[in-house]
């Protein structure tokens, strides 16, 4: 009796080993195949990503709440210790800003007068969708975020993602209740910008470090540290005049830019909906909604507003 099963197992063991090896090789081949397919068929992969991200969005949202609270508590303690120094700094800042305010008021009035003289047609006013950052994904290779708003809240691919300080990135993929933001520091990010007071055209290219570089900067033009960088709106992918950052270094290694927005501070993000189709109006993407409605696509209650 005892011989039966043992001889069977002696026969089965190598076959099972072989089958497992084949299964392993099959899985490796599938992974390689997916990598190649991902290069060839972006839409399929985007859909897959959107669906899976949608499915885990509630979990991510639940997990990210306590992390946010802890970060806030730590911040508060840190602020308490630096209270006096911060106070002095803010006093100085206030004096400086009051001067700027006066200047801005004067320029605003002047601008208004000039616009009325020229019969200037203002651009479309954006609608806002405010969403919470529920995942800071990436690591060394990818710089992206996941938000808790999707198509049902009016998020669409290509919208600009901002905070009060400046541009964060743009919507790269969107599911029904989650969206993925490609940050301006990711090396797949290329943004047409205007540099400094001369408004020189250039491209801001991410390189997976904290300071993206300016490329295609025309020779003969000057740029110096401290120059402000704003989106140019060329190509129609992003609205013009969104603040991005300042030039920090100009040397042989290129022109380094420090974005206004610090990634670790991101908690809530505004998505700007200008109704721009731009370079994303390939047959694959949805056509922009028609008429006035596109500026007021319904967000989460109370979050969609006109500035």
């Amino acid at each position: 009796m005892a011989r039966g099963p043992r001889s069977v197992s002696r026969l089965v063991q190598p076959i099972r080993g072989l089958a497992q090896r084949f299964a392993f090789i099959g899985l490796v081949a599938t992974a390689v195949g997916l990598m190649v397919l991902g290069k060839a068929d972006l839409i399929l992969m985007d859909n897959l990503r959107a669906h899976v991200t949608d499915a885990v969005a509630p979990i991510l949202e639940a997990v990210s709440r306590p992390a946010d609270s802890i970060a806030k508590a730590v911040d508060q303690v840190r602020e308490l210790t630096a209270l006096h120094k911060e106070n002095v700094r803010l006093r100085l800042n206030e004096a400086r800003l009051l001067q700027w305010q006066a200047a801005a008021r004067r320029l605003e009035a002047e601008n208004k007068n000039l616009k009325s003289l020229l019969n200037f047609v203002p651009g479309p006013e954006p609608g806002f969708i405010t969403a919470r950052v529920i995942a800071d994904a990436g690591g060394a290779f990818v710089h992206s975020l996941i938000l808790n708003a999707g198509t049902r809240d009016g998020v669409a691919k290509g919208q600009a993602a901002m905070t009060g300080e400046g541009l964060v990135g743009r919507v790269a993929g969107v599911g029904s209740r989650s969206a993925r933001i490609l940050l301006i520091t990711d090396f797949n990010s290329r943004i047409p910008v205007l540099v400094g007071p001369n408004r020189t055209r250039a491209i801001l290219a991410g390189n997976n470090s904290d300071s993206p570089k300016l490329v295609h900067f025309p020779s003969g033009e000057t740029v110096s540290a401290g120059d402000r960088i704003v989106t140019s709106g060329h190509g129609g992918a992003l609205p013009p005049e969104l603040p991005i950052g300042i030039v920090t270094s100009v040397n042989d290694g290129g022109i380094g830019v420090l974005p206004f927005v610090q990634r670790n501070r991101l908690e809530y993000i505004r998505l700007l909906d200008f109704g721009l189709a731009g370079i994303l109006s390939a047959p694959s993407s949805r056509p922009p909604a028609s008429g006035n409605k596109k500026y007021f696509r319904g967000g989460r209650t109370g979050n969609t507003k006109k500035p």
Binding site: Q20, A23, F24, L27, V28, T30, A31, V32, G33, L34, M35, L37, G38, K39, M45, L48, R49, V52, T53, V56, I59, L60, V63, S64, A67, D68, A71, D75, V133, I134, A135, D136, A137, G138, G139, A140, F141, V142, H143, S144, L145, I146, A172, R180, L182, F187, N188, N207, N208, S209, D210, Q262, R263, N264, R265, L266, E267
Partner: protein
């Protein structure tokens, strides 16, 4: 022969799923925004530690297809090109299984050393794959720091898994 009760079977199932679920949980924990300056760029690759650990101690409970699916999930969540981490995790898993004789009964320190070698291979492989897929050279410095952080996290995670394994997976 008496059939095992429902509770017993569920208990066994839960124990069998523990390694996969823990690895999956690490993928999710990995993307939680922690608001620590500079961390998100070099966030340690925690699931890699889990894959290595279970491949050494309980490969039966973390089969190759689970490793593949977890890698795919990691790719989808982090926004990496789909398939890259699946391949990296499978490679780590396969390497550990092929060197099984080496790992049996070794001290914790040797296991850490083994991980440092395998994780280095994984980091280089990952870097190459991403660079080729994007046709650019990714900055190797951040990859190196990510590797160091992953190495630093290894003792904590491995220790926690070891305790868990002694408590729940003794019989499995």
């Amino acid at each position: 022969m008496k059939q095992p009760g429902l509770w017993h079977r569920m208990d066994v199932l839960a124990r069998h799923l523990t390694p996969s679920m823990l690895t999956l949980a690490l993928v999710i924990i990995n993307v939680v925004p922690l608001h620590i300056p500079g961390l998100s760029r070099v966030v340690p690759l925690l699931p890699l530690i889990a894959v290595y650990h279970w491949a050494v101690f309980r490969p039966r409970l973390l089969p190759a297809y689970a490793v593949f699916l977890i890698g795919l999930f990691q790719d989808i969540l982090t926004g990496a090109p789909i398939g890259v981490n699946a391949l990296v995790f499978l490679a780590v898993y396969g390497t550990v299984l092929s060197q099984k004789q080496f790992f049996i009964g070794k001290s914790f320190f040797i296991l850490w050393l083994g991980f440092s070698l395998i994780a280095a291979g994984a980091a280089v492989f990952n870097w190459l794959a991403i660079s080729i897929l994007n046709l650019t050279l990714v900055e190797p410095k951040t990859v190196f720091f990510q590797y160091l952080l992953t190495l630093g996290c290894f003792p904590v995670i491995a220790w926690a898994f070891m305790r868990l394994q002694r408590a729940f997976l003794r019989q499995v």
